[in-house]
């Protein structure tokens, strides 16, 4: 009798003594599969719903951006109309101002300044506010937090040196 036949006999004997073991195994396998599929499905659905929500929010933000850009353009147009040269001159005349005549103008010599440089009546249009980029790393955030804690600890102990007491470097 080979070793394999001996093992089959043992297995058949075990099944004969407790036939429910086969059903339990099958049920466990099916349950495990169902649970795995459910977990995968849940994860997929969670991810898909988050993606969908983000996509919807993207669409909303896009629409909002367009509205804000349009409102911004409208405000710029209104400001430009209020600053228009014909309007400013008529408003100045209404307030009693008049144009300078040649005899009203006085010229002063200022050393080291070119005569030909005219005053800039308006700020240059291409000056834009520089928005700093977000460049904080985990390390810099942690060190910042530590510095804040240390400062608060020093304040608590009353050991913070005043600016006058700062030692010379």
């Amino acid at each position: 009798m080979t070793q394999r036949k001996r093992r089959d006999n043992w297995f058949n004997q075990a099944l004969r003594q407790a036939p429910w073991r086969t059903q339990t195994q099958a049920t466990s396998l099916i349950m495990a599969t169902v649970i795995m599929v459910a977990v995968i499905g849940t994860l997929y659905l969670a991810q898909a719903s988050r993606t969908a929500a983000t996509g919807r929010r993207l669409q909303d933000l896009e629409a909002q951006r367009q509205v804000l850009e349009q409102q911004n353009a409208q405000l710029r147009a209104e400001i430009a109309a209020l600053q228009s040269v014909p309007r400013l001159i008529s408003e100045a005349e209404r307030q009693g101002f008049r144009r300078a005549e040649p005899q009203d103008v006085e010229y002063l010599k200022i050393d080291n300044v070119s005569q030909t440089v005219a005053a800039m009546p308006f700020a240059p249009a291409d000056v834009e506010e520089i928005v700093p980029e977000y460049d904080e790393t985990l390390g810099s955030w942690l060190s910042g937090q530590m510095a804040m804690l240390r400062e608060q600890f020093d304040l608590f102990l009353g050991t913070t040196p005043s600016p006058d007491e700062t030692p010379e470097q």
């Binding site: 983000t54 353009a73 800039m120």
Partner: protein, 564 residues
Amino acid sequence: MQESLNRRLSFIGAILMILALLAIYRLVSLQFADDTGYFANVAWDEYSYKITVHPPRGEIYDRSGVLLATNSVKYEIGLSPVLIYDRQGTAEALSGAMGIPKEELLEDISSEAPYVMLASRASASMGQAVLALGLDGVAVSPITERFYPHGSLAAHVLGFVARDNVGYYGIEGFYNNVLSGDVSVSDQSRIPFEATGGEGWRQGSTLHLTLDSEIQYLAENTLAQAVHDTNAEGGTVIVLDPKTGEVLAMANLPTYDPNLFYSQAAEITKIFDNAAVSKQYEPGSVVKVLTMAIALENEVIRPDSTYEDTEVLEVGGISIYNWDRQAHGVTSMTDLLGLSLNVGAARLSIATGPLNFYDGLDAFGLGKLTDIDLQAEARGSVRRPGQADWYEADLATNAFGQGMAVTPIQIVAAISAVANDGLIMKPHMVTRREDADNTVTTFSPTALGRAISEQTAQELSAMLAEALTREASKALVPGYTVAGKTGTAEIPIPGGYDPEATITSFVGYGPVEDPQFVVLIKLDRPTTSRWGADTAAPAFSTLVRRLVILMEIPPNDVRVALEG
């Protein structure tokens, strides 16, 4: 029996299994095989829609950063009657926001039409008021529109943008591709997690002009006053920096408001033409400046030369007369310019010879495009020897600006060469272009070439300034030395010249010691006088008196004191 049943069930099971496998195979092949594009397209068409993004058109600024052209928002307001349940409430709310009678709105709401337009271009305030109501069945769609905050100021320079978002005339036309940016047309998925932002579009570039809005306003006001005072049909004014070719102001009358370009009647759309670059005319006596320059350059004469002025000069079968039909005897070159003598000018061009004379005019750019960055520049026309329509008499008449066609910008560019020590600069309108990706392109002044030598230019400047002083010209400006020349041109009509009407002009520059501006004033058909000396010259003086204040140019005595 049982065995037979099992066999049959097995057979059916096998058949079903084969069918199931076939179905699975087909599904897999449809999903992954190469030839499934058709189904993918059908599916994509079902859940996608096309979006067109018109990027904001680039803005236009003057040299000091004053906004000349921008974009504003208008609203299209309409309603879908079938979607409105509370008709009374909707009509009442809309009536309050739009100022339309409630009965009229009720009629629209009761209509069977799928969509009723209430306003195609409602103002921003009205559109936002209706939007805030949040009414069912009422659609409020924003529309971006070009807006010119200064109204008609610099209308001919700027041009306008039509409702197809295409620029016409002036800067809007010439730089349309730059200003309009790149329109993006893309497919957008209706499935939220496939949503993307509008991509692929490029905002229009921003342009900074050489124009100075304050000088432009001054030039337009002065021109309007001159046209009114002389009862002219219209006119043109150009102010240019001779050292750089930058156009500081350019205007024509009659003009229009580019915000309301559509209100112009179809038959008068010629009003959109920028006459300063598009309209050809016979320049008249201002060309004597160039004739004198060419004669000096070719050493035909010297500044102190004289000639015997006669009443008439016969050339090529025609008689040349002075404007006063008088003989002036021994006349200096300065007096030739001051008295604007046709006989003397014709003698100069004949003495110079046709080859040198026309080469000289060519060097000054007459009859050639200046390539200014404005739409629809006209070339002009100067006939040359050898051409079929050139006659010997042309050599004489061309010397005083008859028998040729030029544009105002050509004359200004040519005279600016005299002011700029003989170097002719290319007239231009844009100094800087800023693209959406922050790329900045600066346009530097460009020299078109040397028309005359520095010495000739300076000698001629002195002669022109002296000529104005000798004749006590109305173009003189107290406190400043200016040089210039009047022009009175007859208007060609079929068979000759209009005996009644003229085109008068004055082109001058200053201060002669260090020229910083060239000004041309041209008046069409003035009726108070037919002479440039009485119509255009005073307007030049009026303009320059204020121009020197705006440009911060001190008078001669102050400048000498400051330099001392």
